[in-house]
């Protein structure tokens, strides 16, 4: 029997009680009345080459028209052999990839197998489909496992595509133009890195919401080379003023020191049982 003064713990997970109400409200007003989530306008790309996978991303996170983070990390760790680029709502991509990483680790530890890319893709697809697009995460997963080098994309509604080259985010059209033109099968490492760099660069140049530096992540059978930044923006500004205040800028009027007297009231030692 529940006592009336006991608080109910809230149900875990997302709460979409208001989603239907918001959808109905949107119909009444001419656009823009309901709050919109903040997105990382982004350019992310991935390419499969002879020995593995190369992932690339820009490093700009925008909040409306302001650059909120100039060195944001969009290539997330999933497993030692799997990394994931995220576009869409910054918080969603961050947390979804963290959840994926922990679930995949648990799964591979309990089954005793190294994680495979298809496992990661299935976990992501299940989760994003369950939330019906409310999680705004467009992800590019790349990795190398015992079955080969793979590159997948998962959309916010839970659709999956497997391709040898991919680009997502607001700058994806620009990046895809480069990839469509210059992609070859079984490229060498340097060609692949250069291709991804040029693709992200095209996104940065032609999309306002992408910019700053380029991060590259190379995944091969031998290991991972996470190069951050791979290329720095040529438009870095230099700060002319120091924004740090000298000690003494704020005058101290009075000072009072009260030492807290702590005394040991009770001490008990319990031996741990050891075999």
């Amino acid at each position: 029997m529940a006592l009336s003064n006991v608080l109910e713990t809230p149900l875990p997970g997302f709460n979409f009680d208001n989603a239907a109400r918001n959808a109905a409200l949107e119909g009444l007003y001419d656009g823009g009345q309901t709050p919109k989530p903040m997105k990382t306008g982004t350019t992310i790309a991935g390419v499969v080459f002879k020995d593995g996978v190369v992932l690339g991303a820009d490093t700009r996170a925008t909040s409306g028209e302001v650059v909120a983070d100039k060195m944001c990390s969009k290539i997330h760790y999933i497993a030692p052999n799997i990394y994931c680029c995220g576009a869409g709502t910054a918080a969603d991509t961050e947390k979804t990839t963290e959840l994926l990483s922990s679930n995949l680790t648990i799964f591979s530890q309990t089954s005793g197998r190294n994680p495979r890319l298809v496992m990661a893709v299935n976990i992501l697809q299940d989760m994003l489909y369950r939330y019906h697009g409310q999680i705004g995460a467009s992800l590019i997963l790349g990795g190398v496992d015992c079955t080969g080098n793979h590159l997948y994309t998962v959309g916010p509604y839970g659709s999956v595509n497997k391709m040898p080259y991919l680009a997502m985010g607001s700058g994806d059209l620009a990046a895809l133009g480069i990839l469509e033109d210059r992609y070859q099968q079984d490229m060498e490492l340097d060609t692949a890195k250069e291709l991804v760099r040029v693709a992200i660069h095209a996104g940065i140049m032609n999309d306002l919401a992408s910019g700053n530096n380029i991060d590259i992540c190379v995944i091969t059978k031998e290991g991972v080379d996470y190069i951050r930044p791979y290329q720095e923006s040529e438009y870095k500004d230099s700060r002319n003023m120091k924004y740090r205040y000298r000690p003494g800028t704020t005058p101290v009027l009075t000072k009072k020191v009260v030492p807290l007297k702590l005394e040991v009231v009770q001490e008990s030692v319990q031996q741990m049982e050891t075999v």
Partner: protein, 231 residues
């Protein structure tokens, strides 16, 4: 140009002021042309390869012919996420059923499993599916499970946004008792015609023929498409 993007229940409205283009907020749809034909001894299925998000082609080499079991395939149209999810569920259910039965499943069983999911969740889903395959009992069969969750067996069926343009072609060119090669030609020509007229269909034509012997898959690339019109 018919763009058959169905808005799902919780879609976000397009915001023209945002830095992010329209199509990033639209659901991925397989605006599509799919077709399936029965012949004596099996079925021939075909589809285009275009997946769109609004006006952007998210995947130009999609495989919409999804294996459900050894001799049973489904052709997917509608929301990409919904159809992938339903196909995964049915693949599991049919596989389990087949193991329990210790026999290959019937195409009618697969079709009923699709219908069960599509009808029960008809308000939330946007999926038009053609189930086609071969089994020992009835040979080649094609079942149509359109949006809403109806189930009907037909000797020849088309689906997707591009299907509207080829009903006439299908009705006038399908004849009962065609051979496998005639069916392949019919499906290839029909899908090519639909891709010509429907903006949401395009790319390459994927064909598959399913019979007792197994599944044969082939692809007709863009430069090899049958040329039907001269203007």
């Amino acid at each position: 140009m018919a763009a058959a993007t169905m808005n799902p229940f919780f879609s976000q409205n397009i915001n023209q002021n945002s830095l992010v283009p329209d199509w990033t907020s639209q659901e991925v749809s397989t605006g599509t042309t799919i077709m399936a034909v029965e012949y004596d001894g099996g079925v021939v299925i075909g589809a285009d390869s275009r997946t769109t998000t609004g006006a952007y082609i998210a995947n130009r080499v999609t495989d919409k012919l999804t294996p459900i079991h050894d001799r049973i395939f489904c052709c997917r149209s509608g929301s990409a996420a919904d159809t992938q999810a339903i196909a995964d569920v049915v693949t599991y259910q049919l596989g389990f059923h087949s193991i329990e039965l210790d026999a290959p499943p019937l195409v009618e069983t697969a079709a009923n499993l699709f219908r069960a999911s599509c009808y029960r969740y008809r308000e939330e889903l946007s999926a038009g599916i053609l189930v086609a395959g071969w089994d020992q009992r009835r040979g080649g069969q094609v079942y149509c499970v359109p949006i809403g969750g109806m189930l009907v067996r037909q000797p020849v069926s088309v689906g997707g946004s591009g299907s509207s343009y080829i009903y006439g072609y299908m009705d006038s060119n399908y004849k009962p008792n065609m051979t496998k090669d005639q069916c392949l030609e019919l499906v290839g020509a029909a899908v090519a015609l639909a891709m010509e007229r429907d903006g949401s269909s395009g790319g390459v034509i994927r064909l598959a023929s399913i019979s007792e012997a197994g599944v044969e898959r082939r692809v007709i690339l863009g430069n090899q498409l049958p040329k039907c019109s001269t203007h």
